[in-house]
């Protein structure tokens, strides 16, 4: 059991435990906070995979923006500060069954694959992933088109979200 393996096991168990708490806890603000713990665990997994840019962007985008958006949404859509009773709907056992079947199916599908127990190759020290990522996202022979389309998608989502959630009664009245 090398140090890396122990680290991975601890982080993975923490991430999965937090994810279970996200989907089972009754208090929604607690669920959002457990989501933050899960996202942080995933950021550590990215760091273990030597994807340092992805790890930092995960913390900035997911924890710094999306999780806070969730907390705001939870606070804005509750009628009082107490819990709202049981949070699982009446067919939850079917959802659990489907989840277990999905996991089992994926596991058995991948086990027969030849690359299952592959170990990681050593990254050559001259390889700078951030540099390569930047080149790939902006070069015409790389992935600049998906990059630009994603930015158009973000602008559309921004405009759409502001328009959908706009409350005309409390709009700007300083005309």
């Amino acid at each position: 059991m090398t140090g890396e393996q122990i680290t991975f096991l601890v982080v993975a168990l923490g991430t999965l435990g937090s994810a279970l708490m996200v989907v089972t806890t009754r208090n929604l603000v607690h669920a959002a906070l457990w989501l933050i713990s899960t996202l942080f665990g995933v950021a550590v997994i990215f760091a273990l995979l030597s994807a340092s840019f992805l790890a930092v962007v995960q913390v900035v985008v997911y924890i710094g923006a999306i999780a806070i958006l969730f907390i705001f949404a939870v606070m804005l859509t509750r009628k009082d500060m107490r819990d709202q009773g049981p949070q699982l709907n009446k067919n939850w056992w079917l959802g659990a069954l489907l989840a277990v079947l999905t996991f089992g199916g994926l596991f058995s599908l991948l086990q027969g694959w030849s690359g299952w127990s592959k170990t990681a190759a050593v990254i050559p020290s001259s390889f700078d992933a951030v540099n390569e990522l930047g080149n790939a996202l902006t070069s015409p022979t790389g992935y600049v088109l998906p990059f630009e389309v994603a930015s158009v998608l973000l602008v559309a989502a921004l405009v759409g979200a502001v328009y959908v959630a706009f409350n005309p009664r409390s709009g700007d009245s300083q005309k």
């Binding site: 999965l16 989501l35 959802g95 989840a99 999905t102 990522l133």
Partner: protein, 102 residues
């Protein structure tokens, strides 16, 4: 060291937990939380395959970055819709949002 199977098992488990959250929760915001878990598991999968395949083929990380952007867009629009629905119907329980049912 760490075989690829461990990362794939982690991402499959995270995906299944997210799926359970989406299918079994009453609150619409909680369903969106489950969707976030599924998107994160996909990202872990992509990063693992990037690392354990050809590291110089940066497409894995590019795909993960695009997934970040798409997830952010989807969460913002989804939560805007949930807030707007809450303002009109004063509820976010998914079962009670059934105005279009016959």
């Amino acid at each position: 060291m760490i075989p690829l199977s461990w990362y794939l098992i982690l991402s499959a488990a995270l995906f299944s937990i997210g799926l359970f959250g989406v299918l079994s929760r009453r609150n619409a915001v909680a369903i969106l939380l489950g969707i976030e878990l599924m998107l994160n598991s996909v990202n872990v999968n992509l990063a693992a395959f990037w690392r354990y395949g050809d590291v110089t083929n940066i497409a894995g990380q590019v795909f993960a970055v695009i997934v970040f952007a798409v997830a952010a867009a989807e969460v913002s629009v989804g939560l805007a819709l949930v807030i707007s629905v809450y303002r009109r119907r004063n509820t976010v329980i998914a079962d009670e949002l059934d105005l279009m049912k016959w």
